[in-house]
Each structure stands twice: as C-alpha cells, then as structure tokens.
Symmetry: C2
Subunit: 283 residues, 2 copies
C-alpha cells in the first residue's frame, strides 16, 4: 500500500508526539518537526507508510541521540507481558475453540501501538477485542490452509503483542514456525531481544527480517529472509504496518491479523476504525 | 494563545481534509500540501492558531482559485438553519430558565466546524450538548454582569451556529447588541451575509471585525471594531477560534462559550475534548 495524502498529517503527528513521549527538549522537538516537514516535502509518494515511518523515526533517533528511543516504553510493556500471557493463556485453555481464542488474543495484543494509534487504554482495549465482532473472519480458510501446511512464517509486530503471539504459536503445535522480527529498534516494534523476553524461542525459530521499518517491507529485507517468505507454506502477518507493507504481496496463504487503527487503512479494508481483521489475502 | 507544537499536525490535517472536502484535483491537493508544509516550516511560532489557520486557508483559496471554498457547505447549513432555529427556540420557550437554555443552545450550535473538529454528526452532537454537564459554568457571574450592562459585543463563530446565536440574542432583550462577523469567508465562519440569513440584524447591529482569520485576532481588526471592543460593557465570545484569539484579552466581562474540540485547547482549559465551556475570563 502506498502512502495516501492523509498519511502525511499522521507522520507529522508522530513526529510531534514522539517528542512528547521521549521528553525531548523544546529545541529538539522543534528540530524534529522541522526536519520531518522537510523530509515529507521531498518524500517519494510511492513509498509504503512503514518506509516513510522509518524515515521519520530515523530523524527522531538522530536528534535525540538514542538508538532505541522507545526502550523504556518497551521495558514497561515487557514487564507487563507475563501477566498478560497468564491471563489470556487461561482464557484460551477455558475456551471451547482454543485455536480461535488464541487468534483473538493475538489480535488483542495489537492494541498497544506508539506509532499510528491515538490514545489507548491497553487493559480495556485488549478486553474489548476479546468479545468484539470480526470485520473479516476467514477462519475456515485459515484452518484448511493450516492443516495442509508444515512451515509457517509468523511476522511479528509490537511489544507486548509478542506475549499474545506466543499464545497463538503454542496452539500451532507440530508446525515449523519462523517468528520474524525487525532488525533494529523502531517505535515499539519487537526485536530479537523482545521475542526472547516473551519466550517465543521455545516454540519457534526467531529471525530478523532485515527490515528496520515498522512493517516487513520486502525491498528492505535480507535475501535469506526473502527465501523464507518464498518457501513458507503459509504466512501470518500481524498488525497494521505489516498489512501496509504486504497487502499486495501476490502470493498465496497469507493471513492478516490486525486492528484497523487509522482512517486510511480502514478505508482500504472497507471497515471502521477500531474493527478487528482476520483476513486471508486474495493472492 | 500561541500555537503549540501539537497544533502543527492539525494544520497539516486541515490542509489535506480541505482538499477532500472541496473535491480538489490530485495535483491541487499535492500543491496545497506542499505549500502548507513550506509555510509551517517558516511560520512564526508566536502566532495564534487562528492566524496560522488563516494562512493555511489562504493557500487553499489561492490554489483552488475559490474566494469562498466552503460556500456550498455554508449554503447547506444555512438551509438547515431555520429548522434548527424553530426546534431549539421551542425548547427555550418550554424551559424553566429561558436565558440558560438559550446559552446552552448557543454552545450547541458550535458543534458544526470544518476547521479543527474531527468528524461530527450535527443533529446528534447538538442534542448531546443540550443535556451535557458544563465543564465551566459561570452563570451567576454572567447574570450579574448582564444586569449591569447596556452594550454587548457578541463575537460570532460559524454557520449554522448563527441561528443558535439568534436564540440567545433574542433572550438578551433591551440591550444594545453588536454582532461581529469575519470580514471575508474563512472555512465555515459566519460573514455578514450569513448573519443576515439567520435574521440576526432584526435584533443586533451586524458588523465586520476586520479579521479574516477563523478567530477575532485583535491585531487584524479594524480600529472602529477595536473601539467597539473597548466601549462594550460585556463581550460574548463564541467558539474555539475566538477563545484562542482572546483568552488573554486582559479586559473585564468577557464570557467564552464553546465546545472544546482539540487536545491543545482542552489542556489549556483543563477539560476533556468534547466538554462544553461557559467561562468568564479572569480579567
């Protein structure tokens, strides 16, 4: 998906909000804003939103002098992770359909987002997703593809979504699972370290995709990773950034799981902001 | 009130949304955005938000080649105005306290806004304001100042808020009222023509302030108007733009009536977005 004109105010908003979140100085905030505005003026409009987001957040990293500006935020959520895991793992165990319940959990974990999302209340919003109707629900197709698949590529999104991903991955018993994370810190996206903190490595091979954007942009990925994309029987793609990067991937058996968080993506999917999506791609 | 850094994404959003609302061509939309971003980079940060808004919307006017890009929108709401007037005039008549009820109406009319506000549902949002709690409620002071006042300067905001203003103005019987509108079309702010369409001239002298910004920015006003500001016994200031322009006016007996529509103004007032305000200034 290319950037729409409506993505631009959102990038500017992210630049301003990052300054607030990171308690940057007034001078740094103004500098971040100035550099981001200049970047946007000259930006290639054919870029995907995650690529543009990567450029915006590179400016934030450069000006604040921090390689991982969202480290404290990720620490906070990584600390909350085990409690989330216990609570929702129990729900899955008690549910009639463990697989479906764990998919719901994996989507619920997608609510914590310091990029595109507006304000959120993690506990409350996660609970809401647990009972919300799906705007897309390709569960039958998912089960069919799953039963015929040996290898699954699971594209991670954020922290503490990792802990919710683990719940779903544990339900995908007997499959060869590769869990792909970003190759450098970007917003609150998961890195290898975060995947390990959620204990994903006990159930899947954790790899870096090569992308340092807040989405798995294939043109930024390593050749090893592209080989994994090619040879995997099915792909589970988590979150809006991965949807933006891969909605036109043009291969079979990709399943997008996300909460639609902005007007552009919800219009693209023909759903409402806040809707939850469990959607097979159309090849 | 000066522009906050958080006002900047909102200006960019307005530039993009104006392109949508006005069905501008893709080329025009991109040009509006480019020029607005360049403007913002070089913008004096001591400006009030209405001054910055005026500059943004000047670009929109210039590129679309339309003096009053929101004419059709104002026509639409001016056509709805009489029905609004009838409905809410009746509510005031049936109420126990006609003055208070008409003040509530005047604030309810403030919900229609094509500048700062996000999406709104006019009918529903107006009804909501009619029963909502006030976040500020300086009614006793208002009544006291009103009883000692002969001349009232009433600063208009938007269309069709004009029709709701008329309801309040009709309750201010026996006072000399000046109803001040903008001197040129800007977003859906009221002009002389709009005031006449609402029949305000039957109850007040309709004047232009000199300001072509979406707020009564005194430095942009005519000397005649500044004289009126000075000699009026009290001022009723409608809407967020007038609040932003005049919250530090430094004169007695100014009453702000508005719905808080953005994070910056709600933080400035220490209220929540969507709260309704009936506030005496602190001199």
């Amino acid at each position: 998906m290319k950037c729409y004109l409506e993505c631009i105010p959102c990038f500017v908003k992210q630049a301003v909000e990052a300054g607030n979140i990171l308690s940057a100085s007034a001078k740094q905030r103004e500098e971040i804003l100035q550099k981001c505005l200049k970047l946007i003026i000259n930006m290639d409009r054919d870029m995907t939103p995650p690529e543009a987001g990567m450029k915006i957040h590179s400016i934030i990293k450069f000006i604040t002098g921090r390689k991982d500006p969202y480290q404290e935020i990720k620490d906070y959520y990584n600390n909350l992770g085990p409690a989330f895991y216990e609570k929702y793992k129990r729900k899955v165990k008690e549910s009639e359909d463990g697989l479906l319940s764990s998919i719901r959990c994996a989507i619920a974990g997608n609510v914590v987002d310091f990029g595109v999302a507006g304000e959120f209340d993690a506990e409350k919003d996660i609970e809401k997703v647990m009972t919300q109707d799906f705007a897309y629900f390709d569960y039958d197709r998912f089960k069919k593809v799953l039963s015929g698949s040996r290898s699954i590529l699971y594209l991670a999104d954020n922290v503490p979504e990792t802990f919710f991903d683990r719940i779903l991955i544990e339900e995908l018993k007997g499959k060869d699972i590769v869990y792909a994370v970003k190759s450098a810190p970007i917003i609150n996206d998961a890195t290898v370290e975060d995947a390990l903190k959620a204990g994903i490595d006990k159930f899947a091979a954790v790899v870096e995709s090569g992308s340092c954007a807040p989405g798995t942009v294939l043109s930024l990925c390593s050749s090893d990773f592209l080989e994994t994309v090619k040879k995997s029987d099915m792909i589970i793609s988590k979150g809006q950034g991965n949807y933006e990067a891969l909605e036109d991937i043009g291969r079979k058996n990709v399943f997008f799981m996300l909460k639609a968080k902005c007007r552009v993506v919800s219009r693209h999917l023909n759903v409402k902001i806040g809707d939850i999506i469990f959607k097979a791609n159309s090849d």
